[in-house]
C-alpha cells in the first residue's frame, strides 16, 4: 500500500486540537511545557467545556501560555495565579478555572497563594510544571532544584546547608483538607503522557463535583537550563528528578493514597 493511500482524512487518528492556536510555541526544542499545554487543551476540548473555561498564566516560561491556549486567559503577576483564579472562581462558581504555573511561580514567590487557595479548597485546577529551575530568566535555582544540581545561581550545585532542600510542595498541599485530588505525572515518554492526560482530565472533571481543589504536578525537563539535549534531559529527569519527585496519584477523592 502506498503512503498516499494511508494519508487520507478518513484515516486520520491523531490531529492537533483546535484549542491550541496556530502560533508557533515559544518554548525551547523538546520542552515539556508544549506537551503539558497540549494535554490541558485536549482535555478541555474532549470535555466540551471551552465556553466555560478560563485559564491563568503565570510569570515564567509559560507567561505566554495565552498565545497558545485557545481559551479565555488571564496573565497573572508572578506567583499570584491562584489568587486570580480564586477571584474568577468565586464570582463565576460554575466555570472551569485553572492556573498553569512553574515551580518558581508556585513554590517560591507564590507559596502563600498556593497554600491558601488549596486550604480554602477553591474549586479550581492547578497545573504545576516542575522542572527544577527558573527557565525564563536564564536558569536560576528554584525551590525544587535538586541537591547538588547546578544552575546559574547554584553554579557549584545546590548547597543544602545554605539554601535548604528542595520543597515537595505537592506533598505539602496534599495534606490540606481543602485539596480533593493530587497527582504527580510526567510528559517525557508516551506512557507518561497518557497517564498525565488521564490525571489532568480527572482534575477538570472534579470541578463539577465542587469538592475541593485539584492539583496536578508535571515533572518536566528544561533543556536550556539543564544544558542538555532534550533526550539526554529526559534521561536525566528519569534518573534524578523522578527519584526525588515520585510519580503517581497522591490524593484521590479527598483521601491520601497509602503508599
Amino acid at each position: 500500500m502506498d503512503i498516499k493511500d494511508i494519508i487520507k482524512p478518513e484515516n486520520q487518528v491523531y490531529k492537533k486540537t483546535d484549542l491550541m492556536t496556530e502560533n508557533a510555541l515559544s518554548y525551547c526544542p523538546g520542552c515539556g511545557h508544549g506537551t503539558a499545554h497540549r494535554l490541558t487543551m485536549e482535555v478541555v476540548e474532549e470535555l466540551g467545556i471551552k465556553e466555560d473555561t478560563i485559564g491563568v498564566a503565570p510569570v515564567g516560561c509559560s507567561v505566554l501560555a495565552y498565545d497558545f491556549m485557545n481559551v479565555d486567559m488571564q496573565q497573572a503577576a508572578h506567583g499570584r495565579a491562584p489568587a486570580l483564579a480564586t477571584g474568577i472562581s468565586r464570582t463565576w462558581p460554575d466555570k472551569y478555572v485553572f492556573t498553569y504555573q512553574g515551580d518558581g511561580d508556585l513554590a517560591a514567590i507564590g507559596t502563600a497563594e498556593t497554600i491558601h487557595a488549596c486550604n480554602r479548597g477553591e474549586n479550581i485546577v492547578i497545573i504545576f510544571i516542575n522542572n527544577g529551575i527558573y527557565g525564563m530568566t536564564g536558569g536560576q535555582m528554584a525551590p525544587t532544584t535538586l541537591p547538588g544540581m547546578r544552575s546559574s545561581t547554584s553554579p557549584y550545585g545546590r548547597d543544602v546547608r545554605s539554601m535548604g532542600s528542595p520543597i515537595k510542595i505537592t506533598e505539602l498541599i496534599s495534606n490540606l483538607p481543602g485539596v480533593y485530588f493530587v497527582s504527580r505525572q510526567a510528559v517525557h515518554t508516551p506512557k507518561h503522557v497518557r497517564k498525565a492526560k488521564k490525571a489532568i482530565k480527572q482534575a477538570f472533571e472534579n470541578v463539577k463535583l465542587k469538592k475541593g481543589l485539584s492539583f496536578v504536578e508535571i515533572v518536566s525537563n528544561c533543556n536550556s537550563g539543564w544544558k542538555m539535549t532534550p533526550n539526554d534531559a529526559n534521561k536525566w529527569l528519569e534518573e534524578n528528578m523522578l527519584d526525588f519527585y515520585q510519580l503517581g496519584d497522591i490524593k484521590i477523592d479527598g483521601q491520601l493514597v497509602q503508599k
Binding site: 491523531y14 525551547c28 533543556n223 532534550p230
Partner: protein, 76 residues
C-alpha cells in the same frame, strides 16, 4: 490477518528538531532529515515508513504538536 499500516505527516516548518519523537517510536520509523527548515532545524521524517503502525506515540509526545497520524487496515 489484515495488517495495520500507518503514516505520519510532520509540519516540517514547525518541527524544532528536538528528536523526542525518535525514541518514542516503537518501530524506529522516525529519523531526522539532512536538510533543515526555515528556522534551521533538522526536522523529523519517516525514515522507515513501512514500519509505521500509526500508534501515535510520536504525536502525543511531541512538545510542539507538529505530527498528524493516519492509520488504515491494509488487506495483504
Amino acid at each position: 490477518m489484515a495488517k495495520i499500516r500507518g503514516a505520519i505527516v510532520v509540519d516540517t516548518e514547525k518541527c524544532k528538531g528536538c528528536e523526542v519523537c525518535v525514541p518514542a517510536c516503537p518501530t524506529e520509523v522516525i529519523g531526522m532529515a539532512k536538510d533543515v527548515n526555515g528556522k534551521g532545524y533538522h526536522f523529523a521524517f519517516m525514515a522507515n515508513p513501512e514500519a509505521c503502525t500509526g500508534c501515535s506515540n510520536c504525536a502525543i509526545v511531541c512538545p510542539d504538536g507538529v505530527i498528524s497520524v493516519f492509520r488504515v487496515k491494509a488487506d495483504e
